[in-house]
Amino acid sequence: MTVVVFMERADDELSQQALTLARSLGGEVSAATVEGPYAPGAWAAAIVAAAGDADIVGPGSDRGNEVMAHVAAQLDLPLAANVTEVRGDELTRIRWGGTLLEEARLHAGRRLMTAAPFAFPLSVDSTQTLVLTPELGGAVAVVDHVAPDTGGKVSLADAKVVVSGGRGVGSAEGFAILEELAALLDAAVGCSRVVTSAGWRPHTDQVGQTGTKVSPDLYIACGISGATQHIAGCKGAKKLLAINADREATIFAHADYAVVGDLHEIVPAITAELRKAK
């Protein structure tokens, strides 16, 4: 065994992408899943024990990066997070939420890395699988789970359409026209960081590098300039429609469709047009 892959679950997409990265390293690959309550340090210790001196790869998810950082700390080895390509000891990894790439070299006998989300195809065929049961002891572990009341609304991460507003919306009240359009499309409402910093919307609505990453069929960006940190959160959208008063706005360079003008006129007009047709 020369490569061990930490799988969050056997059927988890990001983990299957990590498996594909692992296969590109050459050598025999084993997939490891871990049983019991989530306890990152204890999970990492179980993986370290099972891996011997193999390379270790994890998914580029929150938990994947967390468990692999524990692995790296326990072994005192470098960790390359969110890797998109490997060439021996050299690799490419993402910075700034994917809007910049870094080529780097690992100086260590073993390679520890996580696979950047959606940089690799899925590996679904069978692999030798290890099921690990960690020693919990006094380790830090999840003790409870709380589920918020979403009021039956579609979540930002799962929505097929996202109607998103930026500084151009102008105020908290200004979002009423976006809400109205979103309701007609069964869409979620998103926003930029300027909006959450101003307190117009809660942070749970923020799209971007430090907010939620969305991948709807259609992302409608209203009054958003297109800063790289915002794009980092919506570049997974299949199509992007930008509505902006400034025809030079950067957002248009990321858009499939453009409407130039005042969103306060355009958004209600789209809503009215949709109503007319129903």
């Binding site: 950082a69 994917g98 790439l101 572990a141 199509k239 355009i266 949709l274």
Partner: protein, 249 residues
């Protein structure tokens, strides 16, 4: 409570990433600098805890001379003093964690040591966890909720479908995410006061990097030629047509 918050100076890039000619860094000639929004929430949370319970907030950065600016910004939010590990070179996550751990040992004890979940630029997702191992403390990552009471911390982490809860005894290391709170805008008097707060600057020597950056690359192919659907409200019928084609209306 004594709380340490670790922050990292990063450029405020706009709509486009522009690199220096040697492809080693982002061209920052015309850019301002900040810290990650995650770290900003970390500073705010620490200041609120100390406002409620008394104690001291210390902010620490490893970075060039100019990173003193970010420490002053944190002091304007309410941190009491700063530690500046000065180095003009780029450090990898492992070396950064080792240097921070050494600074912590020289200044112990802290009840809580706060990091961002990941830095804004390099995004290694590891410095906080490595420091926790180096100083022998428990660590919980990605907090969106924190309650400190009776020597324990209740930590909430966002996961698909809700929040996972952890309960750890202090002292502990936590890494936090934006959304934990809404950071205050520092007042003008707070900014003035920040200028005279103590700032301890000491040079540090960088060890050989084990994750060595070779060069940076701006990913290609993200620029598109948008189809202009029209101007103003007159574009609405065409927009709805497109929505139908995409099957979303």
């Amino acid at each position: 409570m004594r709380i340490l918050v670790c922050v990292k100076r990063v450029p405020i890039t706009g709509g486009r990433m522009v690199l220096t000619a040697d492809e080693q860094a982002i061209e920052t000639k015309h850019l301002g600098f900040t810290i990650s929004p995650h770290e900003e929430c970390g500073v705010e949370e620490a200041v609120r805890l100390v406002e409620a319970k008394g104690g001291e907030v210390v902010v620490l950065t490893l970075g060039p001379e100019e990173a003193a600016e970010q420490l002053r910004d944190c002091m304007a939010i309410g941190a009491d003093r700063g530690i500046h590990l000065v180095s003009a070179e780029e450090w990898d996550g492992q070396a950064t964690a080792a240097a921070i751990a050494e600074a912590i040992r020289a200044d112990e004890p802290f009840d809580l040591i706060v990091f961002g979940n990941e830095s804004a630029d390099a995004g290694g997702y590891q410095v906080g966890i490595r420091v926790a191992y180096a100083v022998g403390l428990p660590v919980v990552t990605g907090l969106k909720g924190l309650t400190v009471e009776g020597g324990r911390a209740r930590c909430e982490q966002e996961v698909p479908g809700g929040r996972d809860v952890y309960d750890v005894s202090l002292p502990a290391v936590v890494t936090v995410k934006e959304g934990l709170n809404l950071p205050r805008y520092p007042s003008v008097p707070a900014k003035l006061r920040a200028k005279s707060k103590p700032l301890d600057a000491r040079p540090v020597e960088r060890p050989e990097p084990k994750l060595e950056k070779l060069r940076l690359v701006v990913p290609e192919g993200s620029r598109k030629q948008a189809e202009v659907l029209g101007e103003g409200a007159a574009a609405a019928p065409r927009v709805v047509e497109i929505m139908r084609e995409l099957g979303v209306a």
